[in-house]
Symmetry: C2
Subunit: 198 residues, 2 copies
Amino acid sequence: MTHPTPAAAPVSTRDRLLDAAAELFYREGVGVGIDALCRRAGVSKRSMYQLFGSKDEVVAASLDRMAPAYQALLLPPADDDRPPRARILHVFERLEKSAAEPDFRGCPFVAAAVEVKSPEHPASLVARRNKDALTAFFRREAERAGAADPALLARQLTIAFDGSSAQAVVQARGLDGLAVATAAALLDAAGLRARPED
Amino acid sequence: MTHPTPAAAPVSTRDRLLDAAAELFYREGVGVGIDALCRRAGVSKRSMYQLFGSKDEVVAASLDRMAPAYQALLLPPADDDRPPRARILHVFERLEKSAAEPDFRGCPFVAAAVEVKSPEHPASLVARRNKDALTAFFRREAERAGAADPALLARQLTIAFDGSSAQAVVQARGLDGLAVATAAALLDAAGLRARPED
DNA sequence: GTCACCGTAAACCGATCGGTTTCCCTCGCG
DNA sequence: CGCGAGGGAAACCGATCGGTTTACGGTGAC
């Protein structure tokens, strides 16, 4: 490979725009104007409207772009061979850690879905898809652990996740073990103790 | 009593404004303009800025005004003499019922706090205060039921409440028993079975 | 060399933003 | 009857909204 991206372009215009969008929309809400966004991203409005048909599409695309990083932040590494219970609680430990930071504004997907209101908004579709991915992770681990109803447990854990996020946002302070404790209580209620016994 | 409110004034200007504000801000978000709000409320901007110093104060005041109705919708009546577990689950049954309606947009307090972003925004203070009221209800019932750690259980139940709300918003469909099941699981994990035995 | 492409800068559009001000009408009350 | 307060209608303010357009610059491929 020579240099298909000519070395003087460290990131594409599209990526620069979407990275700035993800950060701005998360920090200040999707209500920020496209002038402010393009100024921050160092991208002209012309380029933006060449890449995307509307601001709504930019919102959705920026959510989509930051999704892998968000999942990597929360989920345990693939080579983590701890038992399912530990892998599940890992997510809540990470949530508590990020919720303790002063610029925490809750789950970006939930925030976007709440702000745009419409369930048909492209950003809502992205949010739904990514919430499903988190639930799917929980379900796989619940299955591995031999839960009686893995799908139910997974949805309860997703509720604990989003509820903990909301709590941290409204109370404007860290969770102090509450998220982990709630997830653990749900695991206990489902009959999953520390020893998965398989 | 003669007629202190002169019969030709079914509701005050202030109440008309705040009722319209609560409905509009919930349905479309706090981003709606004051022109649209005043048009809907049948109140002039002049009157609005005489009653409130800024739009932010209107947002906070509208949340404050609808709070009693919201609590009445969720909490069991005072003369309900069912055991604590049933009174707690009552809240989640009501949540599921309202989440099934197509115009459900989640908890209005959480939505407002998420939208305004700033924890110091007057609306965030109102949201915090009202979330604390729900947690306080849970804690009172948990104490009555003899929970080992009523404060912890109450916060877990609040998490289940907000998480269920978020789930319904993101998935854009009803909860189908999930909220009640999650709350019940938390009650089970806390050792509170159907019989409070005191 | 030059041509085509990608991108920026900036003007421009009508509409709306939060907020202020002026004018006028309609009451209740003395 | 007169008067003052309350409140609606609407003009007005500068700024910004989402979105389009024109004009120009730099750069790689041929």
